[in-house]
Symmetry: D2
Subunit: 361 residues, 4 copies
């Protein structure tokens, strides 16, 4: 099957290019009789929206979502939900230089190699603009999860935990802080450090990488489909499919390689009638199935490839050249990846909740 769909039971398909007239998605498999309106979706888009601080691209998009089908009198009907966002700020003139030159670190060269044709306006389909529809679909997924598990049960939250070489201090972690700074950072002190670092990078026309952590709390145990659609396998795919992501880990992740078996084991006790774990090295997944603990995923985002220093490259006629990527760009795309990561988490969970119910009841 072609690659623009995600999920098995809760399945969405996105379409649209960075500088086309619109972008959209279709979500199929949503259970019926769930209250849903545009107002449930828009706040998540607003959170991801560009142009909200000097640290994100200055492209101006209201990202106003329209819900075109699948809802009747305020409730889902079980039929496909189409979502639609008009593109407003399509200043393609900024992109003239990339018509023929391949920007290093971008998908220009590989799309050209694959398809032999490329919508070069702003990256076309490979643009991070596509992630707006992930966020929109993710908002619908959140409604499905709330419907299935109870509206107060599950919290899905993301935060920036590293920018460049600077990581948050977990002792200062405060979820409330995440919405107070421009970085979705949970550590107020670190947010100030990042502000300074990113201002500097921005002035230099440079860019910084980042690490994002997404946590889901309140899940039941047993979600995931062995042995290939394990919960962690699907999360790895979901996060790695986000633009600029180069690594994904669960729980201790790469650090687990340096632990002994004794250190890594999450021991179990009873707390009344409930099983409880004494630690969560596993990040909430064992054998590809959720344990019921916090589900903890981190992913690494490379520094934005659009920078102002000239880079050596070639063009599609096989000529060597240089390029400077002007235009409007995020100096750290990792920031806006936070709501996207949350959305992908929600989308994976909604899918696995429905898959689990199908087989196990």
């Amino acid at each position: 099957m072609p690659g623009n769909s995600f999920g098995q039971s809760f399945r969405f398909t996105t379409w649209g290019e960075s500088h086309g007239s619109a972008i959209g998605c279709v979500i199929d498999g949503v259970p019926p009789r769930i209250p849903l309106s545009e107002a449930d979706i828009q706040p998540y888009l607003d959170r991801r929206r560009p142009g909200q601080s000097r640290y994100t691209t200055q492209r101006q998009e209201s990202d106003t979502v329209r819900l075109l089908s699948g809802v009747f009198e305020g409730e889902t009907t079980g039929t496909p939900i189409a979502l639609h966002i008009e593109n407003q700020d399509q200043r393609s003139k900024d992109y003239g230089d990339i018509k023929d030159k391949f920007r290093p670190g971008h998908a220009d060269y590989t799309y050209w190699q694959k398809y032999g044709i490329r919508d070069y306006r702003g990256g076309g389909r490979s643009s991070a603009r596509e992630t707006a529809m992930r966020v929109a679909a993710g908002a619908v997924a959140r409604r499905v999860i709330a419907h299935l598990l109870g509206s107060e049960q599950v919290a899905i939250r993301g935060a920036l935990v590293q920018m460049g070489t600077d990581s948050v201090d977990r002792l200062r972690w405060d979820w409330a802080e995440v919405d107070r700074n421009a970085f979705f950072g949970p550590d107020a002190a670190m947010a100030e450090v990042w502000a300074a670092r990113l201002d500097e990078a921005r002035k230099n026309g440079s860019s910084l990488g980042a690490v994002v952590e997404v946590v889901a709390q309140g899940l039941p145990a047993g979600l995931g489909e062995p042995v290939y659609d394990k919960l962690d396998a699907d999360l790895a795919k979901a996060m790695m499919s986000i633009n600029a992501v180069k690594g994904v880990e669960i729980g201790e992740g790469f650090a687990a390689a340096a632990l002994s078996g004794e250190e890594n084991a999450d021991e179990m006790r009873m707390e009344g009638d409930e099983v409880t774990f004494l630690s969560n090295r596993a990040g909430g997944v064992l054998g590809g199935l959720s344990t019921g603990q916090d589900l903890v995923v981190r992913f690494a985002v490379k520094p934005t490839s659009s920078i102002l220093s000239p880079r050596r490259t070639v063009d599609r006629f096989g000529q060597e050249t240089e390029i400077v990527t002007k235009g409007r760009h995020d100096p750290c795309v990792g920031i806006r990846a936070v709501p996207v990561g949350e959305a992908m988490m929600a989308l994976v969970l909604a899918d696995h909740l429905l898959r689990h119910r199908g087989q196990v009841g």
Copy 2:
């Protein structure tokens, strides 16, 4: 769809439990007229086979593969290929203690929570024994890749790059060394260090984690299916689905978060008529499509959860208890994950080669 299949165009489905009578797989979508016999598959199984050194489980399995369909007079016919391995050493008595107790770090608890029933003999379906069929299917995938790209074109090789806290020195990297030591290590000096460390862990009944690197050389540019079945997204899923894997990264991976945009850009030049890159921070993937450079994937394997130190746990009747996991286990499961990682790489590539050909020709 249920979770025991992988791939879209080259699609395989595995079945079987650790201590059932047999394990097997069905591969569908293999192109016709490719020479194939059991002799093309067995060497890869031999490489993964347990009991070959004191560093892997002492379970004795010849892992002799039988090819039951889809091949006629030495060539594939385009119909499904069924592979079959009898289980020989099914000493279930070793596993009596885990009938009721949940082993920390294992899938016992989560399978029980999901299905309400569990084949407790040696982990049942969640056992790493399942990975034998991945290796078998991977051998078929290698034949498909050779058929499509030319038999000498693509090399898919894996190596252990870290055990516990000890990493290889990349200046001493020697692919030939990988087959000379018991660890699939590319650095002979480090292999000696690992031997000492693992002997110690083994004697203490402990275990070590590891990091595996898999590299594919000789690929064309343009493989991958945006925007959800990107090549790196599918690789992330493939590797994360391997037992005990907790993290996956491509190219610079998590280290990319600490680089500047300038450092991270892989500049391009012409070398005669060919585009060449001056570096490979990207690990051979841009925008989810192969660049034609080396495709570099790493994954982290947690330390074996089966250890001899007693761990606190609970049983399925809700009673608190302790457990010591006797039986035959790999003190570092990361070692045998090397051929499994290679197989998953081959399986992803065969699938994407066929998918690409379907759409683009």
Copy 3:
């Protein structure tokens, strides 16, 4: 997976309700560099459009298609193609009576039973309005087929072969006639008979059933994917999924049951270097694969369920009642099923051409 998508390699997903603001579809998997514009699609929609004669519903829809993505500078880019049609004539007041009553022969009762909620405006998702998007997607499929096989190579044509109890005389079959009468009938004399019969039915507030035949000429041999996605199996599904269809047959179809093995065998001879068949009882499919002969499919369409005679029914409160279905309806939905059947044929063929190329080259 949910049910609003069709096809594996050429995959489309439709959305939208009869009286929502719009309907649309997303097509994924289209090969790149195929010339495509709205002008390639609109003529097929015009052919299906309601209100063109007194024999079809008087609903007024221009059915103007907009192509929103996946095409750049007049050529497909290999990314998803979104198509969009605004609904114009949404006179929902006509449908007030069906809010609570279940119309016999319609999907009212079953949607209510399945989902517990129903968009009752004009049938909502179950309306034949959805078939407009099949026709639009089918037009894209035709372009793909032309691209793969040569633009003059394949002809996909449909015709009405029976209305009520009156069937065409095959000796008078004239493809050119199909576009001359209001019924897509290939037999001019029969078209006059039908006109009289349907006028009568229309005046009585009654309706008639029909049989449609769709033929694809110029196909290569070998299309189809044994043993479950055989070409005829996928065609059967495609046609049966059209609203009001109750039967599908290939070649001789049900009549084959009454033939002897000798009569039914399509003997083969050589014509120069080409294999030729002396008959086509099989309808162009053997063993689920195309033979290269004409591919011949017929399907039966039941009489429109919306009639003016009162019928006994119940409402959603469990009360017995009667219903008369006013509103604007086709007295013979089989007529407009002709372009829809052609579209489904094109969609199946485009999909199988790409699937075949993926595996076999």
Copy 4:
């Protein structure tokens, strides 16, 4: 995806050739904790088994099924179920003549055209032998249906309703009679007619076609997934995928084309608290969803293509020739299609029950 799998949530994949060492299947998605053993499957295979009367092929196969995975201590575990049947009577010498010649009406020519290679022993993969695994998987599907709906709730039964030109008298229909004659005929008097006709055909080396009807009773309303995976669409595909089937219809089927809207409407009344229908022209499906009435499907089976009269054909070297198909064949393959049709019905229903539960609960 390749074509040897069927179903979405209850998904099975078959493998194996007519004259290979074995045939088998893997079923994925079966709910856990359903009692299941080989004894639940074998009776259905026995019913389909060849060589039980002079009216079916004399090939001797015990068709003894082995259950290799997915069941522990007598209950399903939710993991894949592998089924396996050894081929015993592989007299390939009978098939020497078809090595190079294409048998009219068989898949010889089309497989050759598709794959460029063919396992010519007894039809290889295109042989009706593959249907044994459909029957085995269908037996598992029946257990799933019984588990989900209650073991006495649903009856899935098939019968031969026409052989050659002779149809049963529905007034004499007796389900108990189906197991008393060699034809699965529900009309004892007609069974005698068929016996005479088929003896004659057999003596002449000829063959007869047939029509099979399969009925499922006791279903809930609302099964099916609009708008492409409608229940009737999936049934059409399922039945058309059976070897030699050329037509499928639901309820009135093709006869519906000749009815008026008034005649075709199934009116509704209340019977206590239950909705009841006054007729079942629809065959238990409206809008692609089950109505709760009897689900009635019929399919036409062409006469066996293996006949003793010489037929003109060509060989794979492009030479004209003649062929007489010796060997062991069913003079009317429609007979043994009855248990296969029942199995396909069960497989579609199990799949749709799980799909429905996933989305709607």
